[in-house]
Symmetry: C2
């Protein structure tokens, strides 16, 4: 792999570089494409699971019916919007990933992708982590501020939001891998 990289990095000519090596770069580019598909699935799944979370309790008082849905919490609204954005970005990034497969030595698309990947990694992490903080509170509550756990009542709602948080963490891991792989591919060409 190091030898291939050396050949690819030398200025012997683009013809040779395209003909034979660039093998591991092409492999990285194909893996990049597949990981992007996985990231789309994870982020879309997270957005959909959170967006459909809704539970109404079977009992009610005269004035109030107990209902929990994702728009009860600003953080969960943020989560749905951000995850949809990340999924949209990943779909739009697929053509650039294809360009990187066809021309494994062009730094342009990789650079474009690594910068945007970093930005959307931050976005996805922020929404996943803040939703996780709320889910934790919903499960455990907090003594000192007198916030009671609501998961005893809203069990299905809690399960669904927890699932969405897990899916978002999968998307985050995939984005980290994408950034690292792009950095490796940028190293030599």
């Amino acid at each position: 792999m190091a030898a291939l990289g050396l050949v690819g990095g030398s200025n012997v000519g683009k013809a040779i570089a395209v003909a034979r090596p660039g093998g591991w770069k092409k492999g990285l580019a194909i893996m990049d494409f597949i990981l992007r598909l996985g990231g789309i699935a994870a982020s879309l799944g997270a957005a959909a699971t959170m967006g459909t979370s809704d539970q109404t309790l079977p009992f009610f008082t005269q004035f109030f019916q107990f209902e929990a849905s994702y728009d009860s919490f600003t953080t969960f609204q943020f989560f749905v919007i951000t995850m949809a954005l990340v999924a949209g970005y990943l779909v739009l990034s697929l053509p650039f990933s294809v360009v990187a497969i066809i021309r494994p030595h062009a730094p342009g698309p990789r650079l474009f992708l690594i910068i945007l990947d970093t930005v959307f990694l931050t976005l996805a992490t922020a929404s996943g982590a803040s939703a996780a903080a709320i889910v934790y509170l919903a499960h455990n509550g907090n003594q000192d501020s007198n916030w009671l756990a609501i998961c005893n009542q809203f069990g299905d709602f809690c399960a669904q939001t927890s699932g969405a948080v897990v899916a978002s963490f999968v998307a985050v891991v995939i984005l980290v891998l994408l950034v690292i792989m792009s950095a490796l591919a940028l190293r030599r060409h």
Copy 2:
């Protein structure tokens, strides 16, 4: 800048590359070092501000004294630990940044830094965002789950934790810039 990059990327020889160009790469490496110093200040500030947040209310009941400190909230404990870790990592990364200044064309240290920067970016974003979610709840409360805002009582505590969250976001922005700058510097050599 593009022309310099081309000269730097050609195989004319390392002697020339060290002698004259690599100018913008060296500039990037120096900026990298300065940004790291800023990141250390921001993350240490965030950890210290959050770690010293503690407020005891001047009134108490027979059984209970009202006190809020960062270890009332698991998320804030996580925040302090993570921010200290990020600050520690940034301190330890300074020597590698110095190596990148001395040898602007060596891809090794840059690659090492961009991978670890990405990981710690994720860590810093996760802790900052989850703390922000709790701070938001402390300020605004939540109707549907009956969590009351505590910032009316614990005003100083809320101000201090909000400040820590802002400092952590500064650290996140700096880490994003570091990753993007490393990607730019890796492009050609």
